[in-house]
Amino acid sequence: MADLIIQLLNGLNYILILILVAMGLVIIFGLMKVINMAHGEFFLLGAYTVVLTDRLGLGFWVGLILAPIVVGLLGAVLELTLIRHLYKRFLDTILATWGVSIIIKQTIIIIFGPAGLMTQPPLPQLISFGSLEYPAYRLFIMAVSLSVIAVTFYVFYKTDLGLASRAVIANAPMASACGINTRRMYRITFTFGSALAGLAGATMAPLMSCDPQMGLGFFIPAFLAILVGGAGTLSGILAGGSVVGGSESFISAVYSPVTAQIVVFSIAIIIIRARPQGLLGGKGRG
């Protein structure tokens, strides 16, 4: 029984991690129809911010706060210089942001070196519930993820900014005609989405070793989760994250991590093909 609970916790942990990483991406993609291939590298930057503050002796919490600010700012700069020229050209944004991801990754390699670096979790204790023991830090990560989801939902559904965003998602020219400054919306969205990526990276850094290649490893499952769940809605990522994250965790526990990756990717591809609008997506579009 205790065993089952731990497995469930692990699964939930992975699902929430995936959602945390994908949240920023889903907002940017949903609103701006921009696929930011550098999202994984924004995640990377968040993680390395924590590495940096750790090396400088400033500790983890400073890094956690700094990361979304730094990466958000970078996102704003990127939007201003590059992305806004490419709004109508979807394929080109993929390639251009891919170029950005290469540059960011190489810069990290040049500054920090190619090897993996470790930081220590700020909460190394184990929490016990009766006979169960679970690392406190993983519970912290889940808490962060849930908070981010809550905040994002609140902003989207309970604030004027959120209302404006939903209008732009639904019909951008119409929203513009109604007086919403779409240019400003795009800039805010991209900044916010990037900041979320940075936060995700910073939160995850103490759990594993940070190496420059880790961006892609999170980006692909996150993106598949978005496509599976439905790209236009926030609840879509919750569904997609649960399906992708849950099945990977489950198959990993029952069979092996290797099988899990292959099976989950295949399932995701099939679902996307069968239902391009995703499980919860509304309009059928490709």
Binding site: Q7, G116, M118, P135, S209, M214
Partner: protein, 393 residues
Amino acid sequence: MRKKLVTAGILTLFLGLIVMAAGPAMADQKPVKIGVVLPLSGGFEIYGNLGVRGAQMAVDEINAAGGVLGGRPLELVIEDNKTDPKTAVEKAKKVILKDQVVAVLGPVSSAARDAMTPVAEKYKTPLLYGIDYEGGVCNRYVFLYSAIPDHDMNLLIPYMAEQYGKKFYIFGYDYVWPHKMTGALKRIVGKIGGEIVGVEYTPFGVKDYAPTIQKIAKSGANTLILIVPGADGFTFIKQFTEFGQKDKIKIVALASDENYLLALTPEQSEGILTCLPFIASLDKPESKSFVERQKKMFGNDTVVTWATCSHYGLVMMLKEAIEKAGSLDKEKIIDAMGDITLTVGNGPETMRASDHHMILNMVIGEFTGGDLKLKKDLGQVVPPDQCEGKEKK
């Protein structure tokens, strides 16, 4: 006018004589090149860098003592194979064809070595490999300054069974080396009447080992044999410690060495065991001298491990072989490079001519108190002939 011509003529003759005299002397100085194809990026660079430092120290010491073949200096041509077998093949071809090296030193992963071996055969150039591996290679063109399961696992597993219990769990990367090591481990565990309670493989780049750690915790194993070197291994050990499993299950981490001290906290590395031909804290004169020379050359913070020793040893042996052969004919050098005995960091070690494998002195080391210390000195280990029953290619 005529005086000027004569003077000019004499001067030219004089210069010519000088140049002619210097010519052969300069030719004597033409360096003998050794190709180095090691990973300096991509995941296994911690081992690649050690190999480079070992080789460089050997080259410097040889050159300071007069070089080879009457004064010719040795020179390393260093190429990064990016921990990728495909790149390793390209770089091997490059150093052999373009730089005309007399031998290739490297690589690290068994995958890269298996890929480079056909290149060594095709261009008849010796490949000098200095990393512990799964055993079984029998090839005229490959020399292996390596510990194989008969050196390490054969002795470590019975020790673990005796001290900690007979149940083992194996967790490794999903490629050739861990798979073959598992085969060897199964044989050894079977021989001592132990039990393997689980075997699992993982792809590269997994960041979250929670499900696997759960499985290991449930399995009832006394010892975990971890065949995940590099950064992913550190991540695993970190998470394993965080789940509180370190006190319950002992870890034997293959290919773990002093590098682990840099990446892990003392709490995380405490109690991990390994079996190697050399550890830096050995209290023998040759060990201390080796570590000291490395630190003098590369700085006080330099990590010195078995990989440094093996690559140093290979270059030293190559030099001896060149001298014995008396020329740069690669076939002659290969013939001369057998049955050479050297002391590098841990007693006299011998490269056998019969199968190009080593007789090594092994130790069991334990990570304790933030350092890698000697747990048991196993002395000399003579592995079975790897070419027995095989045709040497």
